[in-house]
């Protein structure tokens, strides 16, 4: 095992710890969900193992890993996006286009 990997791991850990400091409560869940999708990076490992292996056993184990990891990645990003879509401020943009006398002035 290469020591370079350890160096990278340690520095990346420090970076991860610095990355988020103050998060408003409403973003806790989307942030968790987005980070969860990123942890699906193991899809890369699954691809490498499944793609390069000749043994049938290893291949099928890798295949299972690939399916699970892809669920995590695809589902994770989509569900995060759906959550965040909810936080859009629909009124703001509408208010800018629709005149505000609507249903009041007349």
């Amino acid at each position: 095992m290469d020591i370079a990997l350890v160096v990278v791991f340690v520095i990346a850990t420090f970076l991860g710890a610095e990355l988020i400091a103050k998060v408003p409560a409403i973003l806790h869940t989307p942030l968790m969900s987005g980070a969860n999708a990123i942890s699906g990076i193991t899809i890369v490992g699954a691809l490498i193992v499944t793609g390069a292996v000749a043994s049938p056993w290893a291949k099928w184990v890798g295949f299972a890993a690939l399916v699970f990891a892809t669920i995590n990645v695809v589902g994770g990003f989509l569900v995060t996006d759906r959550m965040l879509e909810m936080f859009k401020r629909p009124d703001r943009s509408e208010a800018a286009t629709t005149p505000s006398t609507n249903g009041r002035g007349k």
Binding site: P30, A35, N36, I48, A58, V61, F68
Partner: protein, 487 residues
């Protein structure tokens, strides 16, 4: 080529870094998520170029199958079930890491018994290295963390979706310790047996299977005693674990993408866990060792024994009270999500506003079962964003408010948090609804909320209870309001 691929991984990592950063600010959050998704795409493409690919159909099938399942699940899940969905996805990620590490073991084994040679040769550069002890240790770690994440996440899923009600059994703690020792033993066994593998394959294979099985049990035992209300924190923690599992797998494969991204998620997930604990005024240790969600229910049941006077009210009385008010604050809680009454609440508010009543919503940071739960629900019902006011900004206004409508909230308006030092929620900041002129509480019964404790507010002379499902109750209030209006 290797250089190009590693640079692509670096680009992906940079996108993850910016993605996570942006996800922590409301304006940029959505872009951040998409940035991270693009990063993932780049990483996948880079991975596909890593080695000569033998099994193209399998790869396509795996990506398609996983992608389809993930997309369908993500699209179908109702808003209120999102936290458990995240838990499930997280579990999948964990098990995937464990499986990749296991596949590496099988790959070494296959090479030894000659399958590889027949089938055209195993071309992995990694697999040609010796199966030494450090490698065995990283594989063991990857399997261990991955399996704990998997089973733990699914217990969390079960609890959040209320399919799993158990909080464990007597002696669970002792059992957990035993299983933990077993996990340790299996890991040591595997590491010790590593140099002989794959020539002597028995010990490594057996210890691997044992380790996986024990780790799965451990994940269940660790999460089982934790109360359902604490599940969001648990999921955040398990998410940090699944990052670590990916990083461990990265060490197995000597892959920078996995190590960097895994470490990022591992560390930032831990920070997020801490932030979430702070928002609930709990310590992480307190959460993990089985918090109030699990234990305090007994106390509430006991307290429920005595009969105390409460004021019960009806939909038409509430309608009259509301239409004569000049300012109303709605306090939504978990019950709003259960009843799915958000659309009715919005409709009621609109009717009141047309009559000149000011209606706002007081959002407690931990109302509901996930942070932002109330925002999500009310946004879904198109409640204007600027009507939602955060706790700190609205708490001073209750004293000058005529009517507070508590819709399925309980713990977040419990004055015991302010006054009762023995209460498990003592010290948690709450919404000071008892300062308002009138308090109307919509719930189905006198049962406790998630913390499982009595709420003095319900016995306050200012408080009137409107019993029944929140959706039905609000519908009734709407009908009465309409009836009151001049035709």
């Amino acid at each position: 080529m290797e250089t190009v691929i590693t640079l692509a991984y670096l680009v992906a990592a940079a996108l993850f870094i910016y993605g996570i950063k942006r996800l922590s600010s409301p304006v940029t959050a959505r872009g951040g998520n998409r940035m991270a998704a693009v990063g993932m795409l780049i990483a996948v493409v880079a991975a596909l170029m890593e080695e000569r690919i033998l099994n193209v159909p399998e790869l396509i099938a795996g990506l398609a199958l996983g992608g389809a399942i993930g997309a369908v699940l993500a699209k179908r899940v109702p808003m209120t079930a999102m936290p458990e969905m995240v838990a499930a996805f997280n579990g999948f990620g964990g098990i995937a890491s464990a499986l990749v590490a296991s596949a590496e073991v099988l790959r070494y084994y296959a090479r030894e018994i000659g399958v590889a040679a027949e089938a055209g040769g195993d071309i992995s550069a990694v697999a040609t290295a010796a199966f030494d002890r450090p490698l065995a240790l990283t594989i063991a770690l990857s399997v261990l963390i991955g399996c704990v994440t998997f089973s733990g996440s699914f217990v969390a899923y079960g609890k959040l979706s209320e399919r799993l009600k158990s909080n464990g059994f007597r002696g669970l703690r002792a059992a957990s310790i035993l299983v933990g020792l077993g996990v340790l033993a299996a890991t040591v066994w595997m590491v010790v047996a590593a140099p002989a593998f794959p020539a002597v394959e028995g010990p490594v294979m057996t210890s691997l299977v044992a380790l996986a099985a024990l780790a799965l049990v451990l994940g269940v035992f660790l999460v089982l005693p934790i109360g359902g209300a604490d599940m969001p924190v648990v999921i955040a923690l398990l998410n940090s674990y699944s990052g670590l599992a990916a990083a461990a797998t990265g060490f197995v494969l000597s892959n920078y993408a996995l190590i960097v991204s895994g470490a990022l998620v591992g560390a930032s997930g831990l920070i997020l866990t801490k932030i979430m604990c702070d928002a609930m005024n709990r310590s992480l240790a307190n959460v993990l060792l089985g918090g109030f969600g699990a234990e305090a229910t007994g106390g509430a049941a006991a307290a429920g024994g005595e009969e105390r006077p409460i004021r019960s009210t009806s939909a038409d009385d509430v309608a009259v009270l509301l239409s004569y008010a000049s300012s109303v604050i709605v306090v939504p809680g978990y019950g709003l999500a259960v009843a799915q009454a958000q659309h009715e609440v919005r409709e009621m508010a609109e009717i009141l506003e047309r009559q000149g009543v000011e209606v706002r919503y007081a959002i407690h940071p931990v109302a509901g079962r996930m942070p932002g739960h109330m925002n999500v629900l009310l946004a879904e019902a198109n409640v204007p964003y600027d009507k939602l006011v955060e706790m700190d900004d609205i708490n001073a206004d209750f004293a000058t408010t005529d009517v507070v409508l508590v819709v399925g909230a309980n713990d977040v308006v419990n004055p015991a948090a302010r006054t009762d030092k023995t209460s498990p929620i003592y010290g948690m900041p709450i919404l000071n609804v008892d300062e308002a002129g009138n308090v109307i509480v919509l719930k189905r019964s006198m049962r406790a909320g998630y913390a499982g404790i009595e709420n003095e507010l319900f016995y306050n002379p200012k408080t009137q209870m409107l019993f029944g499902d929140a959706k039905a109750s609000i519908k009734a209030v709407i009908d009465e309001l309409k009836a009151l209006q001049p035709a």
